[in-house]
Amino acid sequence: MLEVSDLRKSFGRLTVVDGVSTTVAGGECLGVMGPNGAGKSTLFDLLAGATPVDGGTIRLDGRDVTGLPPEIRVQAGIARAFQIPKPFPTLSVREHLVLAASAGQGLRGAALAGQVDEALERTGLGDKAGRTGRELRLLDRKRLELAKALASGPRVLLLDEISGGLTEHEVHALVDLIRGLKSPGLAILWIEHIAHALKAASDRILMLHLGRKVIEDIPDTVTRDPRVRELYLGQAHHA
């Protein structure tokens, strides 16, 4: 479904994404991990079109979307939940989702309402539909990020650290939610620092370091890899 080849991005002299290639099929969840500043969020920026690429191609269902602006990519089906939530301060939660469903997918009327309700329910925001973005606490802001992405009817879902700040219990619930989202029509990419959660939800894990791919394999292999232990998990995880 999503094919990425040799993606590159530099900011000035700093190369942040350095020749990353991967593919994600429908129904699959690719976990992305790596130290702070490894280039994970930047990779998502490139996929979503928020920053122009310096090199490489991005294909969605075989169609080259590399040069398209973000709004067109959303309409094509690449949706994203930001690491740092960006709710619109004056819009209500429901308005966020209506906007996502209408602008992203061109839905109208009952279909639109249905999609919005479903996204509200899945993310547990049902009772907060009337709150404005400004009023939301961190946790709800993160949920709203996910809900927006869902409401836009994605084919590829980019999730950036949506579990930050959640308790253990909530993380488990989130893992269940993501598992439940899996369907043949949807490819998921999930950046997360909580290794066990990522492991539980992902079919494969991609580890980035200094903008390069270190390893991409099934979760067990990745977490056992000595490079991953050295670069990312650290000594604490040997215990």
Binding site: L14, P35, G37, T167
Partner: protein, 233 residues
């Protein structure tokens, strides 16, 4: 010594800290830990005057709570902020000199800081924004040291640092701790490393002190539970 009683912090209507107490002796280092959003940064901000706060904060004879941020800086409080916050249009040297802007006397000079972090001497004339994350972290720490602080606040010390660099920074901090009367409060995500670096620890949970004690012989399991707010039962 640092004496904090009943510290509350606010962002507008939102309360981020609830009655935190703390007391530290000269030369001590506090490891401040807690989950994402627990209020660690808010605690530091409340001490240095970057956010509205209520409660008493005394450093030696000085009543910090009565001073504005500018006055607290002059009284010897220095912060290395989360996210490093470089002055982007200033060179590395100028960033460091900004730290000396309050003109307190003491051992820390440009030369000593570049002695501690040689790479900063090498890059002294580069715009600070072009440095790597780890290097920026060094600038932020060096900039705080340049004030010759009596109370050094370090937020997310090893964020964005390669493990080996993080180790170097911690080694330097350990040296500082042993050499001076400076009080240090350090926020560190890696609990193990934090406990190793501190004399005492304070674990925050949703703005409240969940657990505190000496680092030596600390019970990591208890800290883990306090960290996530799980009940002992």
């Amino acid at each position: 010594m640092l004496e904090i009683r009943g510290l509350d912090a606010f962002y507008g209507d939102f309360q981020a800290l609830f009655g935190v107490d703390l007391s530290l002796q000269p030369g001590q280092t506090l490891a401040l830990i807690g989950a994402n959003g627990a209020g660690k940064s808010s605690f530091l901000h409340a001490i240095c005057g970057m956010t509205q706060a209520r409660g008493s904060v005394r450093l030696g004879d000085t009543d910090l709570a009565a001073l504005p941020a500018v006055g607290r800086a002059a009284a010897g409080v220095a912060l290395s902020p989360e996210g490093r916050r470089m002055f982007l249009s200033l060179s590395v040297r100028e960033n460091l000199l900004m730290g000396a802007n309050v003109r307190r006397r003491g051992p820390w000079t440009l030369d000593r800081v570049t002695g501690l972090f040689p790479i900063l001497g090498e890059f002294a004339d580069r715009p600070a924004g072009l440095l790597s994350g780890g290097q920026q972290q060094m600038v932020a720490i060096g900039r705080a040291l340049m004030a010759n602080p009596a109370l050094l606040l370090l937020d997310e010390v090893s964020l964005g640092l390669a493990p080996v660099v993080a180790q170097e920074v911690h080694a330097a901090l350990a040296m500082l701790r042993d050499q001076s009367e400076m009080i240090t409060i350090m926020v560190e995500q890696d609990v193990n490393r934090a406990i190793a670096a501190g004399d005492r620890f304070l674990c925050l949970l949703e703005g409240r002190a969940a657990l505190t004690g000496p680092c030596a012989g600390a019970d990591l399991d208890a800290i883990g539970r306090a960290y996530f707010g799980e009940d002992d039962t």
